[in-house]
């Protein structure tokens, strides 16, 4: 009997409170309005996590300029100021043709390599009405070495200079602070050292960033081999931080890859963290708005 009476009282109280409460005018405002579907922005601060591509592209009409350095190996010791005496450099220019499509060119000192790339945002993570859980960005690049032929006497083919990389960048902004990428990559080398070495190397990369403040984040990435690996290839692993100041993003990092372009860091990483083959480096990016958008 007592139990029933209590339950009855609770029910009465609830009814009472709903009857007295005035409707919140903000609720009235949102009545019958469907939550808008909003694309998730700024999954990463830059178009790269460290070495690997993030899902981000240069916005429409924006030129994204990156100058990147990798100094020498930390294990070169005090004589080479722990690698700072040497540096390898890369410059790249990426332009957003639309908010989804970016094209770019670059040049690295490593192998005097030229590159041309295209990057397409195929799917975008969204929240709200029609939520979608992840972004998918496709990246393809062609690389051409520019070094003189080691043996000019033999028949050398231009095509031997070329390598190609195709990547699918699956990205998810898990929370405001945490974003992750999963990047399966296929690297094709036209020229390999011996006939029994595979032309195609398949890797899977995992990367992420964690925001410590709104302008500072910790980043990391690791690539493991799925197929085509030779014993001299070591997995590329990097950690670093992003510092954002207005139109610049500074990415400072430690990595066992000296190459700053895909076919180099995915298939030509020769050193390991355990042996101290660690390079300090940075990517410094700057955006230039070439064509302003309609504000609609």
């Amino acid at each position: 009997m007592r139990r029933t009476w209590h339950a009855g009282l609770v029910a009465a109280l609830c009814c009472g409170s709903t009857a007295i409460a005035q409707p919140d005018l903000l609720d009235v405002l949102n009545e019958g309005v469907e939550a808008p579907t909003v694309p998730v922005s700024a999954t990463f601060k830059d178009t790269r996590v460290i070495n690997v591509q993030s899902n981000e592209t240069a916005a429409s009409g924006v030129l994204h300029f990156v100058i990147a350095h990798r100094f020498g190996r930390l294990n070169e010791g005090a004589y080479a100021l722990w690698g700072l005496d040497n540096a390898s450099m890369k410059m790249s220019f990426d332009y957003g043709l639309t908010d989804r499509l970016q094209v770019g060119v670059g040049r690295s000192t490593l192998g005097k390599t030229y590159e041309a790339s295209a990057k397409l945002r195929l799917l975008r993570q969204t929240t709200g009405g029609r939520a979608f859980p992840f972004s998918l960005t496709l990246f393809s690049s062609a690389f051409c070495t520019g070094t003189r032929w080691p043996d000019p006497e033999r028949t050398n083919y231009f095509t031997s200079r070329l390598s190609f990389v195709h990547q699918a960048v699956f990205a998810r902004k898990v929370s405001d602070d945490l974003s992750v990428v999963l990047v399966p990559s296929m690297t094709h080398r036209n020229l390999v050292s011996t006939p029994d070495v595979a032309h195609d190397v398949y890797t899977v990369g995992l990367g992420g960033r964690y925001k410590l403040t709104s302008r500072l984040s910790l980043n990391g990435e690791l690539h493991v081999f799925a197929a085509g690996r030779t014993p001299d290839m070591k997995p590329s692993a990097s950690i670093g931080c992003d510092i954002e100041t207005g139109g610049h993003v500074f990415q400072l990092h430690l990595t066992n890859s000296s190459g700053m372009f895909e076919s180099a860091f995915l298939t030509q990483t020769a050193g390991t963290w355990g042996a101290g083959d660690i390079y300090f480096g940075f990517n410094l990016s700057r955006v230039f708005t070439v064509r302003e958008r309609n504000r609609d």
Binding site: Q22, D24, L25, L26, V28, L29, N30, V33, P36, V38, V40, S41, A42, A59, S60, G61, V62, G96, D99, T127, D176, S214, R215, E244, T245, G246, G247, V287, T289, E292, R293, R295, D296
Partner: protein, 134 residues
């Protein structure tokens, strides 16, 4: 922006979706959403309250200077505000206009030292809206 006015008691609510602001420079828009307004956490700015001394005699077709008192919420921070506004009933529709400032500091929108010169410390707001009866 959406707004509602209860003509029985002068209660009102305004709502502005932060994502609705677009900028000429994409990076400005990203910084606006990511670093300053944090629109993923706080998707709307709202102002909710009552018109001080609401009177049904204001429905005479003439403009009336009034005080709108309530809670202004921007960046998830509520501030008690009294904002001067003009109300007028035109052809059966209430027309509301107001101009006021929102100091970013009041709403914990922090602007770093290095960009302080480029970013306004106070946001000027102009409101012009016509409400359909329902």
């Amino acid at each position: 922006m959406s707004a509602v006015l209860n003509t029985a008691d002068g209660g009102f609510a305004f709502q502005v979706p932060i994502r609705g602001f677009h900028f000429e420079k994409a990076l400005m828009e990203e910084h606006f959403n990511e670093n300053y307004l944090e629109s993923e956490k706080f998707p709307n700015a709202t102002f909710k309250g009552t018109v001080v001394g609401w009177s049904s005699a204001w429905a005479d077709g003439k403009p009336h200077s009034v005080q709108a008192k309530g809670k202004l919420s921007v960046h998830g921070v509520e501030v008690e505000r009294t904002i001067p506004a003009t109300l007028q009933l035109k052809g059966g529709k209430w027309v509301i206009s107001a101009r006021f400032e929102i100091p970013t500091k009041d709403h914990k929108i922090t602007i770093p030292e290095v960009v302080r010169e480029k970013i306004a410390a106070s946001i000027p707001v102009t409101v012009n809206c016509t409400l359909d009866p329902r």
